[in-house]
C-alpha cells in the first residue's frame, strides 16, 4: 500500500489494549477518525514488535493531517493536527 499525499484515510477503530499486552504508537483520540495523508515519512521497524523484542518488519510511516474539529468539535475551525501513523493503522476512507 502506498498512500499518495492528499489521500483521505480513516484510522482503524481498533483497541488492541483490550486484548492483552501491547505497545501502540497510535493515540486514542485519532482512532476511527478521518484524516488525509500529508506525506510519507519513510519506513521504520514496527514499534509494536520492537517493544517485545520480536523480529520487527519495517512499515511505511505517514504524516496524517486531521481537522481539529473532526477530533474535538468545539475547536477553532481551520486549526489542524498532524500525527505520525504507521500504514497498518490506516484504511482508505
Amino acid at each position: 500500500m502506498d498512500l499518495a499525499p492528499g489521500t483521505e484515510v480513516r484510522v482503524k477503530d481498533d483497541w488492541p489494549e483490550t486484548r492483552g499486552p501491547c505497545h501502540i504508537r497510535t493515540p486514542h483520540y485519532v482512532r476511527g477518525r478521518r484524516g488525509r495523508i500529508l506525506r510519507r515519512l519513510g519506513a521504520f521497524p514496527n514499534p509494536e514488535d520492537l517493544a517485545f523484542a520480536r523480529p520487527a518488519p519495517t512499515r511505511a510511516l505517514y504524516h496524517v493531517l486531521f481537522d481539529e474539529t473532526a477530533l474535538f468539535p468545539d475547536s477553532r475551525q481551520g486549526d489542524d493536527l498532524l500525527v505520525e501513523l504507521f500504514e497498518h493503522w490506516l484504511e482508505p476512507a
Binding site: R25, P27, Y29, L41, F44, L61, E68, F72, E84
Partner: protein, 194 residues
C-alpha cells in the same frame, strides 16, 4: 532485588560501565564521547540553527527538506539520533509540538525536554485546547493564524522554526540566536526583539 534498588547510584553506574567494558559493548572512551555529545545538546544549538535559517535562505531550504543532514553540516552529531524534521512557522500557520504518548523531543538539537513538556497536563491540553494553552504562556497570535498541533508519536523528532521577529533587520546570527528560547522551538511561545 532489594539490594540493587538500595545501592548507591554511583556504585551501580561504575558496575554497569565495568560490565559494558568487560563484555566489549562500549569502551570508556566511547561512553565519554556520548556524554560529551549529550551535554553539548541544549536549546542554544537549536537557537543557532534558527538564526542561520533566518539569515541564509539556501540553508533554510535544506533544513526544511532534510533536518538531519543539514544540522550535521553545522557540526551537530546526529549519528544514532532519530531523524529530525523542521516545521516552518508562517504568518498563516503556527506549529505546536507535543508527544501525547510519552516525551519524544528533538534532544540532539534542544537537549533534555523541559519538565512541563513531559507533564500530563501539557500533553493532554496541547491537542485538546492548543489556543487556551499558548494563551496561558502569554503567546499572542494574529487572529488569522491557524494552529497546527504536531503530535510526535513515532520515529521522527520535530523542531519548530519560528518566524523572525520584526525589527531585526541586519542583526548578526549571534544576536538573532540570543532571541530564540526553548519554548519558541516547541511552539508554546514566539521570539520577540522587544
Amino acid at each position: 532485588m532489594s539490594t540493587l534498588v538500595e545501592t548507591d547510584a554511583e556504585t551501580l553506574l561504575a558496575a554497569l560501565r565495568g560490565l559494558l567494558a568487560a563484555k566489549g559493548l562500549a569502551t570508556p572512551a566511547e561512553i565519554a564521547e556520548r556524554l560529551a555529545i549529550t551535554e553539548k545538546a541544549s536549546p542554544a544549538q537549536g537557537a543557532r540553527i534558527v538564526a542561520k535559517a533566518w539569515t541564509d535562505p539556501a540553508f533554510r531550504a535544506r533544513l526544511l527538506a532534510d533536518g538531519t543532514a543539514t544540522v550535521e553540516g553545522l557540526g551537530i552529531p546526529m549519528r544514532g539520533a532519530p531523524p529530525l524534521g523542521v516545521l516552518e512557522n508562517t504568518p498563516d500557520l503556527h506549529h505546536l509540538v507535543v508527544c501525547t504518548l510519552c516525551s519524544c523531543y528533538p534532544r540532539a538539537v534542544l537537549g533534555y525536554p523541559p519538565f512541563w513538556y513531559k507533564s500530563a497536563g501539557y500533553r493532554a491540553r496541547a491537542v485538546r485546547d492548543p489556543r487556551g494553552l499558548i494563551a496561558e504562556w502569554g503567546t499572542k497570535l494574529p487572529d488569522t493564524t491557524r494552529i497546527r498541533v504536531v503530535d510526535s508519536t513515532a520515529d521522527y523528532r520535530w523542531m519548530v522554526l519560528p518566524l523572525r521577529p520584526a525589527g531585526t533587520d541586519g542583526w548578526s546570527e549571534d544576536a538573532l540566536a540570543a532571541l530564540v528560547h526553548e519554548g519558541d522551538m516547541v511552539g508554546v511561545s514566539v521570539p520577540s526583539a522587544g
